[in-house]
């Protein structure tokens, strides 16, 4: 990734409005996707930018398709679908009370939808994510939990239980690892999530099954 190119990209993207900016940044696709893909993606990106959606993920998805040798029409379809999910996320966010969502939050919403959550779930999560909870983080965690196989309604319950219990954002970030730990101990994703939800609701710190801590008691009489 040459430094001159980075220089140019920043200058281009900063200086030119909407469609022209899309054209400039599209040089990233040169040599990586066939011209028809490039053309189609530029249009999708310009349209997305006009709606206030982040465009970087669209370039990345196109480059990914090119790298994986995917047929052109499939790449275009995937990029269009991603733009659609981001649009849905944007709508859900606005209805959830976020008037000017950042790119991170919109991408998080799109990821959550891709992982199986509904627009309504996204809205609920965003509404629940008042400070100190960052909606981008909440959505990212929800998407990862969905990617682990936790059913969508349980993702919602678990995240909302953690927030209601006042658990720290750091604890929220640790949820996927806790679920994975439960899975490695033989629970299904749903069971692991249910256990964590119960623990959060009861105000106890989550302990993955089979992993209750034990330590040697210290002898206070040791010199």
């Amino acid at each position: 990734m040459s430094r001159v190119r980075v220089f140019l990209e920043l200058v281009l993207v900063a200086a030119l409005p909407g469609a022209l900016a899309a054209q400039g940044v599209a040089t990233r696709l040169d040599g990586r996707v066939p011209p028809q893909v490039r053309q189609a993606v530029v249009k999708i990106a310009a349209d997305a930018a006009a709606r206030g959606l982040p465009v970087d993920p669209l370039w990345e998805k196109a480059i990914e398709g090119g790298a994986k040798g995917v047929p052109a029409d499939r790449v275009i379809a995937a990029v269009r679908a991603l733009a659609g999910r981001m649009g849905d996320a944007m709508t859900a966010l606005r209805e959830g009370g976020v008037s000017a969502p950042t790119g991170d939050v919109v991408e998080g919403g799109a990821d959550a939808i891709n992982a199986g959550l509904s627009n309504h779930d996204v809205q609920d999560l965003v509404r629940a994510s008042r400070p100190p909870y960052d909606p981008a983080l909440t959505l990212r965690v929800a998407a990862t939990l969905g990617a682990l196989g936790v059913p969508a309604n349980q993702v919602l319950q678990l995240v909302e239980a953690m927030i209601s219990a006042g658990r720290s954002p750091g604890d929220l970030m640790g949820l996927p690892a806790e679920v994975e730990s439960g899975i490695s101990h033989g629970a299904t994703p749903a069971q692991a999530a249910a256990g964590l939800t119960r623990a959060a609701a009861a105000g106890r710190p989550p302990v993955p099954p089979g992993q209750a801590k034990s330590g040697k008691p210290v002898n206070p009489h040791r010199p």
Binding site: R3, E9, L10, A15, E64, G66, R74, A115, V218, P220
Partner: protein
């Protein structure tokens, strides 16, 4: 609530035994001992990846000053600047960043001594491992390297069939997959995965300040 009686504190310090306490202090002594015993003494084992990460940084630090400056220029934090630049970035802001980059690009030897931190404040080392016996080459491609198979090859790790590499990834979430022999795209079975939109799946890795979560 009053503090502990001085004799009770001596019990905690190991200078007196519980039995030595006068009867009326016994209960307080037992409570205090319960407090101390609640401390978590379980041994803490860090990840085996620590060695890999430290030695990677050590080798980078050990190279010559010119090479160190060159590495600093290409430090992962540059990636943070490149992505997520929205079309409505303020012109002056972009200019300042671009100017800074231009200076770095033109005068690498003038850059300050590279930080001795393990990774920049914005990136963390993450180790990728794949068991692929019979593979001739393995690479990892993802959003952090433009899905370029050539960017991050894995190397055989010594035990037959195991391939590995360690990359410094910027904070955030990334998608990736392994590429075996230049044509077979394989997810990381140990990581959560998502639909890639092309009929396959990508693996997910979340990188947070100070840690990585697979």
């Amino acid at each position: 609530m009053a503090g502990y009686h001085p004799l009770v504190k001596q019990v905690l310090d190991g200078e007196l035994s519980l039995a030595d306490l006068p009867r009326d202090l016994r209960a307080e002594g037992e409570e205090a001992v319960r407090l101390i015993q609640a401390a978590d003494h379980s041994p803490v084992t860090l990840s085996p990846a620590v060695e890999q990460r430290v030695m990677a940084a050590v080798r980078a630090h050990a190279s010559s000053p010119a090479r160190r400056a060159w590495r600093w220029l290409h430090a992962p934090r540059d990636v943070e600047l490149r992505v997520r630049v929205r079309p409505w970035v303020v012109w002056s802001g972009a200019l300042a960043v671009a100017a800074a980059l231009a200076i770095l690009f033109m005068r690498p030897s003038a850059s300050p001594t590279p930080s001795t931190q393990l990774a920049s404040r914005d990136s963390v080392f993450v180790r990728f491992v794949l068991y692929a016996p019979g593979a001739r080459r393995v690479a990892v491609a993802g959003t952090f390297n433009q899905w370029d198979q050539g960017a991050a090859p894995l190397v055989p790790a010594g035990t037959s069939g195991v391939w590995t590499t360690t990359l410094a990834l910027p904070v955030g979430q990334h998608q990736y997959a392994f590429v075996v022999d230049g044509e077979r795209w394989v997810v990381d079975p140990a990581a959560p995965s998502v639909d890639d939109g092309f009929g396959r799946r990508n693996s997910l890795v979340s990188v947070a300040r100070g840690t990585h979560i697979l």
